[in-house]
Symmetry: C2
Subunit: 533 residues, 2 copies
Amino acid sequence: MSLQKRKTAEGILFTDMYQFTMAQLYFRMGLQEKQVQFDHYFRNYPDYGTHKAGYCIMAGLEWLVDWMQNTRFEADEIEYLRSQKTRTGTRLFADDFLDWLSRHGDFSTLNLFAIPEGRVVHPNVPLTVVRGPLAMAQILETALLNQLNFQTLIATKAARMREIGHGQLMMEFGLRRAQELGGNAGARAALIGGADFTSNVGVSALLGVQPKGTHAHSMVQLFIAMGMSELDAFRAYADVYPDDCLLLVDTINTLESGIPNAIQVFQELRAKGHRPIGVRLDSGDLAYLSIQVSRMLDEAGFPDVTIMLSNNLDELIIWQIITQIQEEAPRYGVDADHLVKRLGYGIGTRLITSWGDPALGGVYKLVAVHHDNRWQPAIKISESPEKTPNPGYKNIWRLYDQRGKATADLLSLQDEDPRSMERIVLRHASNQTKFRIIEKHNLSEVEPLLVQYLAEGRVIAEIPDLDTLRARRVADVERLDAGVRRLMYPHIYHVSLTQRLWDLKQDLVQSALHVEDLQHLPVKSDEAATPSP
Amino acid sequence: MSLQKRKTAEGILFTDMYQFTMAQLYFRMGLQEKQVQFDHYFRNYPDYGTHKAGYCIMAGLEWLVDWMQNTRFEADEIEYLRSQKTRTGTRLFADDFLDWLSRHGDFSTLNLFAIPEGRVVHPNVPLTVVRGPLAMAQILETALLNQLNFQTLIATKAARMREIGHGQLMMEFGLRRAQELGGNAGARAALIGGADFTSNVGVSALLGVQPKGTHAHSMVQLFIAMGMSELDAFRAYADVYPDDCLLLVDTINTLESGIPNAIQVFQELRAKGHRPIGVRLDSGDLAYLSIQVSRMLDEAGFPDVTIMLSNNLDELIIWQIITQIQEEAPRYGVDADHLVKRLGYGIGTRLITSWGDPALGGVYKLVAVHHDNRWQPAIKISESPEKTPNPGYKNIWRLYDQRGKATADLLSLQDEDPRSMERIVLRHASNQTKFRIIEKHNLSEVEPLLVQYLAEGRVIAEIPDLDTLRARRVADVERLDAGVRRLMYPHIYHVSLTQRLWDLKQDLVQSALHVEDLQHLPVKSDEAATPSP
């Protein structure tokens, strides 16, 4: 099979089969163009077992929008569906439906609203809202979830590592342990979430970041197998890369061979007017070794070269390394703060897989249907109160307290604007007894979060470059309370409903408890019927 | 950014930066065409925390070979490297190296040996062996690891789920929770490893498997929001898909609404001469519900329709569901064996992410260098005895006992053939005190495992179709001891060295302990110098 053929699995067929069978059913009933709204949100922060996130970082939107702009049913894909058979051997998809798909099988009719990439996001808040004709809004589901769930998951993990590493240099190294081509999306998300660089050349080329790396153990082994030494290997590397010399020092023995050889090469480089970058430690007790390495480098007159750590790092291990350094470094006459500031982190497997919780459980739920000339909220009834989606078309607001810290995300009906309220009632999304009242004068800002990116398929808001996305992340994380940013047992950030949205949800749930009443779902008020978030 | 541009991140730039900087160093030293061998192997079975694999299933080779056949440096990629700068702003890659890359920057010089896809594989046994010129063999590393690690990981997880599910129908559903495009490779691996079908349409199209699915909760919600009912939704579905009718019954209430409505629709279908497929349960206590659902379906005259289970299933949860059914079903007058045989499994997140252990730690190690007219074994010295690679060029054999069960994988020097030995000494790879001696008459078969797929870049062994790969998996798993197949605490399968390979490794390790001696690594014998596995 050629790679070209494999591209057919990355276009409109990059989805679950039931999207097409449901679309045909809707077509058969004349519902394919019925206006609907789907909300995409996750229900829980990633839970890594020993620790848990208190916030997430939105990512993946640019590539999703690209995919939507460039993807539609082409002739080959129509023919593929035409070839599908039912269990009895008859055609699964009828010609009239396939004709419709070949004419309308693209995303040019959809409206897409989203919280911008790089922003802090929380559970049960719509990250994206899709509004448009039923059949194509349904068909979008799988690709949207696939792209946004994964990039948000990885950006979140990267942000945690960045925080715990005191903001020091961080490189993403995980391509070899990624889910095949998904490693590219993961590297992009890591760069948004916290990595300064990635070793992934292709993604660096796409995003205009310089790809970075050191060298492998195999380089040193090769020299040895040819009858030369680690020192010869380091010298050769320094000759070719005198200004980018970062040496991997653990092929033989870090303290007895790697570091003495690196120091010798660094001295030779300096004699020729070059400044070495540093060393990389990839095995052993990284805290202990980095103290000893720091001491040896200090004594040799290289107090500022970087000590890059790698080998199955994650936020917990970085935290432990730093803690151990802070305790032990002084005993060896090493300044702990100075050492922590010269560390860098090369992070592979545990970032690209979001070790501990390798999937974000984002869902895509039907929340409203335009029917009988108005928007009817939709709800799935069987779920527990916590899982019951917030119905209908909503606005999303972030409330900042007098310190400028985010204090809650608030979901409101479309016609509500908390900026004009003197006091805001914040209802817990599922627990009737929990609510909070905030007076306007106790807030420094009320910020709407959703931005419309696609208007009937047309891009109306550009996604900025990587530096802007990163600046957003930094600003948003700084506006979180320290308790929410904590590595373990973070404070739970409040995600609340306005009183009117809460009332609407209760009415729907109450009606739904009587299956007989399902045909008469109430809509709270006429004002709520204008269809834009 | 267009999708087309993103393809540049999937070609030869789909790698780590250090592969290119090392390649330039080798070029600078005139070593770019030096013949070397890399072995690719993993060191440990996936460890899912609460349980652990006792075998893996090889997968990913076909897509790797495709990639190697279709990937080379093109002008754009050369220009990208030409634009890269050192820290001082000078050019990172020189013109002579880039000229060499533009002429030789493909995989047409490499030999690739591998254990075929679908076969059972074990730690520390080379899954693939790459032999050829240094620069391109090095550049291949990242893509090879990326593709084989991931597909082998997922095929392994799928095989476990297949075994624990009593071989019943299993569908892969995970695209929305996968690492973006990596979901395609994962679906392929799941099909090799144990899934009968996938919901992933694109991959099904590529592999010639029928894509499968049911419908979403949103379909029922839509009907309700339009003032109709679950029964109306089911009827509509049955009208359009009378011979493929599998209904999702938990949107409102499984036992009080979903199943009664499904039974009514099934009766209507039957009256029209159609045979319903079954129901899907996606929430709640799946063991309890499937017993009740089975009883209701039996009583309504549908004892054979499928009960498909989904919702965060993995091998442990499937095991628990089956165990609970076996205990509880009789109390409700339901035949447990009959029920287990009518179950099917839709498996999403926990298969596509290999929940519990989301990465296979496969490595790609330099094991031999052709130097001074002979093959010199290479070794990395700093590692613990268990992690020390087995040096040089090796053959791989699988030994079957008198029952026809696999009893050990054996690594030998290239010139050794255990088929001609009267007694075989099996040495533990790192523990000197552990060995076993097997007499020839106690073996039913000694099977070589490595197959050469590429000879100087040319495909010389085709990879068969999916059915053949699956048949291999089934045959290999059946030839494993029951203890090795066990869900938890499996027996450790033996991976051993011949006496001569063991001796060579000890000599290398001993020499390496004296760094001074590194320039004089011994080669055990001249016979060992013929360079093909």
